[in-house]
């Protein structure tokens, strides 16, 4: 085939061709291997997520000032149906479940899913607290989170050490933001954009000159370049000394084009209020994020086949943390004017109206009536104190219970109800009125609202005399110098002990054997009485029937004897028919009566009845008798 001399000439092309082919095969195998590795990796991580359940608890801030709130999040991975407590009991803290969100993400080809339960932590006092282990019930059993330490500083505590400085911990992306966590197409190339263009924040507020106690809405928006996947790791750390910040509800997501770049916008709304007058600088509000940046593609992976298999995406990304900030903000806090401040002013700032209602306008004597005063409108509901009651003479009153029904997520608008418990000390036909004052920052004046007394009927217990107390009463020995009367009356001197007593059983009458025996005896008596009466009636009725039979026999004999005159014969016939039960309106009775009257009051009544007529009469009566007997 080939000469030796030719071998060297042909070997080289043959070898080079084979090596190239082998390399091509090796490269294709490598691509398939990498694709398989990605697929297996995804499946394994997914299975691992489903198989291994873990729970962790994290605080948004480990240290806050009094009046602020923190967020506690419980992350449950690998379990879909977890149950967590609605409230967590810690003395000095109110910890309530506010919602849950599900997070499914794939970062660096690793898919994981978790459910995040968010709690709001409201301090009721200052100090160091330990949030105990939180039980999480899943299909595979109950798991516990680790206890967490939490510090609440008083108002003189160091401000600004919270938030990111306090060690912000990861939180899930907010619900309704699917694009923020899921990886998406990352631009090719290795040159990342500048941070300012990639993500930035804005903060806006309607007013920068506000009154102490006035609630103002604040909007914080964070812009993220839509081309880069972003994971949100914290809530905005809005905090400043002298400012009270409400909790952040779920943020809203939108999209906007700006300077040729499409941005995903995350907008948080909250309320601010200042506790004291002066000047307040709010530092930039930071949001901790994690952004996937395009990374360098290793040599050999820039093959078009490989790119096509990955759908044009670049799997070689780098993740970096980015703190997105808003500009700082300055507030001038004005003091509430002392001039013209009403006595009933209790810290309400805003615009309000008031209404009152009595839930039970006719309470029982001695029972309380409940007067509900509703303050509705827009303002600082949490900080406002209760209205004062007017015309309350003759009433015993108690500090009211209050409840806020918000009509917006921020609790800026709504109705705060104050329930006053009132006990009449004398007969009352009207409830007390109420007076409520607030400061209107728009008109910069105090406004006083009042509600009029409402009609009701209430009386104290001294007006009542217990009517049944005489029953079973046992008077105290007269020798002891106590009330001789066996009657126990409601003591008109409230608070004095009752001097005589009645004996009552702990059991109801129905539960006592005496009652059941008595009832059975009465039943027996009724049945016996009925039986006796029925028997006697039966006897009487049987006696009268026999008498009736005897009379019928005698009448029939008289009629047959032919010894009676005509009128007497018809009399006897009439009685016979009546005894047989023939109705007075029957034709036979009418005929006998008519014939008897003719004979009695006319002619022929005293003579014997003709045999034909008597036979006909007897035949008629016989038929009646046989009909009755057969029926």
């Amino acid at each position: 085939m080939c000469s030796i001399s030719n071998r060297g000439r042909w070997i080289k092309p043959f070898m080079i061709g084979n090596i190239l082919k082998l390399m091509q095969v090796f490269k294709t195998a490598l691509i398939i291997l990498v694709a398989l590795w990605i697929f297996v990796g995804v499946m394994v991580s997914d299975c691992r997520a489903a198989g291994n359940t873990s729970v962790t608890a994290e605080l948004s801030r480990a240290e806050i000032n009094a009046g602020e709130m923190a967020e506690l999040q419980v992350h449950v991975s690998g379990a879909d149906n977890a149950r967590v407590p609605q409230e967590i009991q810690v003395d000095g803290l109110q910890i309530r479940l506010t919602g849950q969100s599900t997070q499914v993400q794939m970062v660096n080809f690793k898919v994981s899913s978790s459910v995040v339960y968010s709690y709001i932590v409201m301090p009721m006092s200052t100090g160091k607290f330990t949030i105990p282990s939180i039980p999480v019930r899943t299909d595979s059993g109950t798991m516990q989170t680790a206890p967490l330490s939490f510090t609440v500083l008083d108002s003189s505590g160091v401000a600004g050490q919270t938030g990111a400085g306090g060690g912000a911990v990861p939180v899930s992306p907010q619900p309704g933001m699917p694009g923020f966590a899921a990886p998406r197409q990352v631009p090719q190339g290795n040159a990342p954009p500048t941070e300012g263009r990639m993500a930035f924040g804005e903060i806006t507020t309607a007013k920068k000159k506000i009154y102490a106690g006035e609630m103002i809405p604040v909007e914080i928006s964070y812009y993220f370049d839509a081309r880069y996947p972003v994971q949100i790791l914290s809530n905005p750390d809005l905090a400043s000394e002298g400012l009270l910040v409400e909790r952040f509800p779920d943020p809203k997501q939108s999209r906007e084009d700006r300077d040729g770049i499409t941005y995903n916008i995350l907008t948080f709304h909250t309320l601010l209020s200042a506790v004291k007058p002066g000047s307040i600088d709010v530092p930039p509000v930071k949001l901790k994020t994690q952004i996937q940046m395009p990374g360098a593609v290793p040599p050999g992976f820039d093959n078009p086949v490989f790119q096509q298999m990955l759908g044009g995406q670049n799997p070689f990304t780098q993740t970096r943390e980015l703190m997105v900030k808003t500009p700082s903000l300055h507030f001038d806090i004005l003091p509430l004017p002392k001039e013209g401040r009403p006595a009933s002013f209790a810290g309400a700032v805003g615009e309000f109206d008031s209404d009152a209602v009595v839930a039970n306008p006719k309470p029982l004597p001695g029972d309380p009536a409940v007067l509900t005063v509703k303050i509705g409108g827009k303002g600082n509901f949490r900080a406002m104190g209760p209205p004062i009651l007017t015309d309350s003479d003759g009433w015993r009153t108690y500090p009211p219970a209050d409840k806020i029904d918000s009509s917006d997520a921020l609790s800026l608008e709504g109705v705060k109800s104050f329930d006053f418990t009132l006990i009449a000390q004398e007969k009352k036909t009207n409830s007390p009125g109420s007076e409520f004052s607030y400061f209107d920052p728009t008109t910069e004046k105090y406004v006083t609202l009042s509600t009029k007394p409402l009609p009701l009927k209430a009386s104290p217990l001294s007006d009542v005399v217990t009517p049944t107390a005489t029953a079973l009463s046992t008077p105290v020995q007269p020798s002891q110098g106590v009330n001789k009367s066996p009657a126990v009356t409601a003591n008109s001197n409230d608070g004095e002990p009752l001097s005589s007593f009645t004996v009552r059983s702990w059991k109801t009458p129905v539960q006592r054997a005496e009652f059941l025996i008595g009832s059975l005896a009465m039943l027996l008596a009724a049945v016996s009485l009925g039986g006796i009466l029925h028997f006697r009636d039966l006897q009487t009725r049987q006696g009268s029937v026999a008498e009736q039979r005897r009379r019928l026999t005698a009448l029939w004999a008289s009629l047959n004897s032919g010894t009676l005159d005509a009128a007497s014969t018809y009399d006897a016939a009439l009685e016979y028919a009546t005894l047989l039960g023939v109705s007075e309106s029957d034709e036979v009775i009418l005929w006998i009566t008519a014939r008897r009257d003719v004979l009695k009051y006319g002619v022929g009544g005293s003579v014997l009845l003709g045999s034909d007529e008597r036979s006909k009469l007897l035949e008629t009566l016989g038929k009646i008798s046989s009909n009755k007997a057969s029926s």
Binding site: T466, P467, G495, P497, W506
Partner: protein, 259 residues
């Protein structure tokens, strides 16, 4: 007539309850004098002594429970006072002072309880009166009806008005008796208790300290016992249901009454 009726009830009551020990009124007077003189602790000891006497095992006296509640209230123990007032009202729902003081101490304890539907009824009539009076009326109606239906003399006269009247008395009387028995607060008292532990008590979803908290109950809250599991009792209070240690609650009926 009314007096005779009460006398009849008195006779029935005394025959039901038996004679009380003669020394009780003396002890009661002594306790009342201590309470009026501003010595609630002494009075409380005396009331406790009276109420724990053997004479008061199956029966009791609402007025003495009320007085005991006053002594406890004046001693500053609102929680114990609320239980005494509840027991007084259990025995006699017409005892208005007890209801007023119960409302007052519950307000201090931060508890708001709705007045039961039977409240307006029992402010005038004791359940015993409804049950016994209703039963007497009902059985009189029943006897009259028997006479009118089974006696030939009345049957011949055919007086539907009288029969209707007797029937109405039969139905109304027994309905009244049933109503009194059904609405009697003692009927359900065997399964009722109050939260007597110090501070708010946590309801758990299972009988264990580490179980999930289902809510809290304020001291003095009225609860219904659903089941018992050793030292843990399952209870309900309004919409809340859960397990609570039995040491944190006190039954509405005194232990002697329960036995």
């Amino acid at each position: 007539m009314k007096r005779r009726f009460y006398h009849l009830l008195l006779i029935i009551g005394i025959s039901f309850q038996g004679a009380l020990h003669a020394s009780i009124p003396n002890e009661l007077n002594s306790a009342n004098q201590s309470l009026s003189a501003g010595h609630p602790a002494e009075a409380l000891t005396a009331y406790q002594s009276v109420l724990s006497s053997p004479d008061f095992s199956n029966v009791s006296a609402p007025e003495i429970w009320y007085n005991r509640g006053l002594a406890e209230e004046k001693s500053g123990d609102s929680l114990a006072a609320s239980l005494s007032y509840r027991r007084a009202l259990l025995l006699d729902p017409t005892l208005t002072p007890a209801r007023t003081h119960l409302t007052s101490v519950l307000t201090l304890l931060g508890i708001s309880e709705a007045t039961p539907w039977s409240g307006p009824l029992f402010i005038r009539f004791h359940p015993d009166l409804l049950v016994l009076g209703g039963a007497v009326l009902g059985w009189l109606g029943a006897l009259a009806l028997v006479v009118l239906v089974f006696s030939g003399r009345y049957r011949k006269n055919k007086r539907p008005g009288l029969i209707g009247l007797a029937l109405a008395a039969l139905i109304f009387g027994h309905a009244l008796s049933l109503l009194g028995a059904w609405a009697d607060p003692r009927r359900l008292a065997g399964d009722q208790a109050i939260v007597s532990g110090k501070g708010e008590q946590t309801l758990r979803d299972t009988p264990a300290d580490s179980a999930q908290a289902e809510g809290t109950l304020a001291p003095g809250s009225l609860i219904t016992i659903l089941s018992r599991n050793g030292a843990w009792w399952k209870i309900s209070s309004g919409p809340k249901t859960g397990w609570i240690p039995s040491t944190a609650i006190t039954t509405l009926l005194p232990p002697a009454a329960g036995s």
